[in-house]
Amino acid sequence: MSVLVNKNTRLLVQGYTGAQGTFHATQSINYGTTVVGGVTPGKGGNTHLDRPVFNTVADCVKETGANASVIFVPPPFAADSIMEAADAGVELIVCITEGIPVRDMIAVKQFLKERNVRLIGPNCPGIITPNECRIGIMPGHIFKPGNIGVVSRSGTLTYEAVGQLSALGIGQSTCIGIGGDPIIGTTHLDAIQLLNADPDTHAIIMVGEIGGNNEEIAAAWIKENVTKPVIGFIAGQTAPEGRRMGHAGAIVAGGSGKAEDKMAAMEAAGITVCASPAEIGQKVKERLGL
């Protein structure tokens, strides 16, 4: 089993005919994901990658029965695209776009509250259930089906952790890249609640980074509710205060969002915290007694 996405997921692509949309839709199709079509306003009625193009998400959902959407739309228009997908009843929206203004995401967050949808991202690498469904921009070939759930704010650091697992012969149930922005649809806590409820996820890797206190919130919940082994890493232990480290959300400001505070909270929750990013795979192996 898995969480959120599997072989029954029917994916539509917003920004389908653009360069990014085309490249990653192709990758997802080649991976075996059921891509049912896409949306580019003004290009409805055409065919792209052997699939229909629609003018609106509502049309696409109606015609194809899509239940998930991935967004490759430039930042000024991305918030609108998220709301369009939510309004069309798409259950799972994955927004890859980096650079959406915070003000737009504040509005989106309110908009989504009234609708029964889940947003992953923005500014994220997407979500993958190995050998079943790839949504986003992850390199599919590094993943291997199995029983470790992964949640991470960072793309390449997710690949690093997964690469270590796969090299040790340890597969993954579902890997969720939640994104590096200050306001995101699915937090560490949300993702961990999902993975904890999944019987086929036997252990969880939680990769965080400096900025905000979502890791601390998740750790507090893990302490009370999770009996599965959780292995964690926090990036940015050496980051200077007051500087944004690439991700819009990765900043230590006013004394909050520090790596050491997150690591302490995670350790207090019984999470195995890796001091070095090179030992994530090995620590999973040890915790599982493999």
């Binding site: 930042p75 000024p76 650079g99 959406i100 203004p101 915070v102 003000r103 995401m105 504040i106 509005a107 967050k109 309110q110 690498p125 921009i137 992850m138 390199p139 070939h141 991470s152 704010r153 960072s154 793309g155 390449t156 650091l157 997710t158 690949y159 690093e160 690469g163 590096g180 200050p182 306001i183 990769v207 980074e209 400096i210 905000g212 206190n213 979502n214 919130i217 890493f233 990036a235 940015g236 232990q237 050496t238 980051a239 200077p240 007051g242 500087r243 480290m245 690439g246 991700h247 819009a248 959300g249 990765a250 400001a253 006013g254 004394g255 001091a275 070095s276 990013p277 090179a278 030992e279």
Partner: protein, 385 residues
């Protein structure tokens, strides 16, 4: 993007936040003219993007135009060191000359994002004029908060609640509430990521005013505000960071001697961490991004090597979208064109890694090729010694 106090005040004034009369001065002559115009009893304030300017000697209250000239001469061009500038300080290139005012009470106003709720929060405190982090640490009960509802903004009742709560006398509450609502409106409309008025002052005559203004603008929203592009002060930024930003490279200069080139922000931070873990000191944070091309790799390389402190370079790439062969070609071409003065250790993993390694091996350069992050970090730390 950070902007100067005088720029922030000009914006806030447009929204109706009362600010003292003042003028920016780039020269001593301009400061003299401003002091004359304001009647001689003025404050001369260094304009740099860092707090703690008063303690560092960057703020002087003077009674006469002559003293204003002396203060301007002393402050302009000085290397101002505060707790936020680092030991080297920041050179002062601009002054704000402002009317001096009889202060009754120093207060604090600020707005910031609460990530958990996805809403902005308005903060007010009776403890103005000191670091708000200090107040939060020692007496958190003295920081009052009101959630700003999206689409509504700070409501009148919330502003009054805050104003009464921080001890503003009844006769001044309406003016203070009006200033708070104006600040909240400005914050929203100009896409701030942080706004602080510290201190927000109550005058002896009952008026209220923003005596300082710290405004940061959300970089991601700059496309909506082309008029703010002029507010960027390149003198406040590290020259290598300015250069990197021209090529859409995320580069942050640090104090160590091991340069890092990585794809992805999380992995770039983790690479700095593992270099430190291996006993080294990172010279920078550099995220070349997910889809870097050869040209960007070359420019990244050039920028890394122009930092004279650098003794070795660690390239750590987990190829997803950025293919290892593209990275390798970029590095080899950059090395040919720019020459290599320091050892380079490369760790590659992911898409087309075999082709990438072949390109490096056949390049004729003596790159250190690492097997995993840990090995790479250890190799580069040894190489830098």
């Amino acid at each position: 993007m950070k902007i100067h106090e005088y720029q922030g005040k000009a914006i806030l004034a447009r929204y109706g936040v009362p600010v003292p009369k003042g003028k920016v001065a780039f020269t001593v002559e301009e400061a003299e003219a401003a002091a004359k115009e304001l009647g001689g009893f003025v404050v001369v304030k260094a304009q740099i993007h860092a707090g703690g300017r008063g303690k560092g000697g960057g703020v002087k209250v003077v009674k006469t135009v002559e003293d204003a000239v002396t203060a301007a001469r002393n402050i302009l061009g000085m290397q101002l060191v505060t707790h936020q500038t680092g030991p080297l300080g920041q050179k002062v290139g601009r002054l704000l000359v402002e009317e001096a005012l009889p202060i009754e009470k120093e207060l604090y106003l600020g707005i910031t994002l609460d990530r958990a709720s996805g809403k902005n929060v308005f903060m007010a405190s009776s403890e103005g004029g000191m670091e708000i982090e200090e107040v939060a640490h020692h007496s958190p009960e003295k920081i009052l908060k009101e959630v700003i509802e999206p689409g509504i903004g700070l409501s009148g009742y919330q502003a009054r609640k805050l104003a009464f709560g921080i001890g503003i006398p009844a006769g001044s509450v309406n003016a203070a509430a009006k200033a708070m609502i104006a600040l909240s409106k400005a914050y929203d409309e100009i896409d701030c990521s942080l706004a602080e008025i510290n201190p927000f002052i109550l005058l002896k005559d009952g008026r209220v005013m923003a005596l300082d203004a710290k405004i940061n603008i959300d970089d991601n929203a700059m496309f909506r505000h082309p008029e703010f592009a002029d507010l960027r002060d390149l003198a406040e930024e590290d020259p290598l960071e300015v250069e990197a930003s021209k090529f859409s490279l995320n580069y942050i200069k640090l104090d160590g001697n091991i340069a890092c080139m990585v794809n992805g922000a999380g992995l770039a931070m983790a690479t700095m961490d593992i270099v430190k873990y291996a006993g080294g000191e990172p010279a920078n944070f550099l995220d070349v991004g997910g889809g870097a091309n050869e040209e960007q790799i070359k420019n990244a390389f050039r920028i890394l090597l122009s930092d004279t402190a650098v003794k070795a370079v660690f390239i750590n790439i987990f190829g997803g979208i950025l293919r290892c062969d593209i990275l390798a070609t970029g590095v080899v071409n950059a090395a040919r064109e720019l020459g290599i003065s320091v050892p380079i250790v490369i760790r590659m993993e992911g898409t087309n890694v075999a082709e990438g390694k072949k390109i490096l091996a056949e390049s004729g350069f003596n790159f250190g090729v690492a097997d995993g992050m840990k090995d790479g970090a250890e190799q580069v730390v040894r190489a830098a010694q």
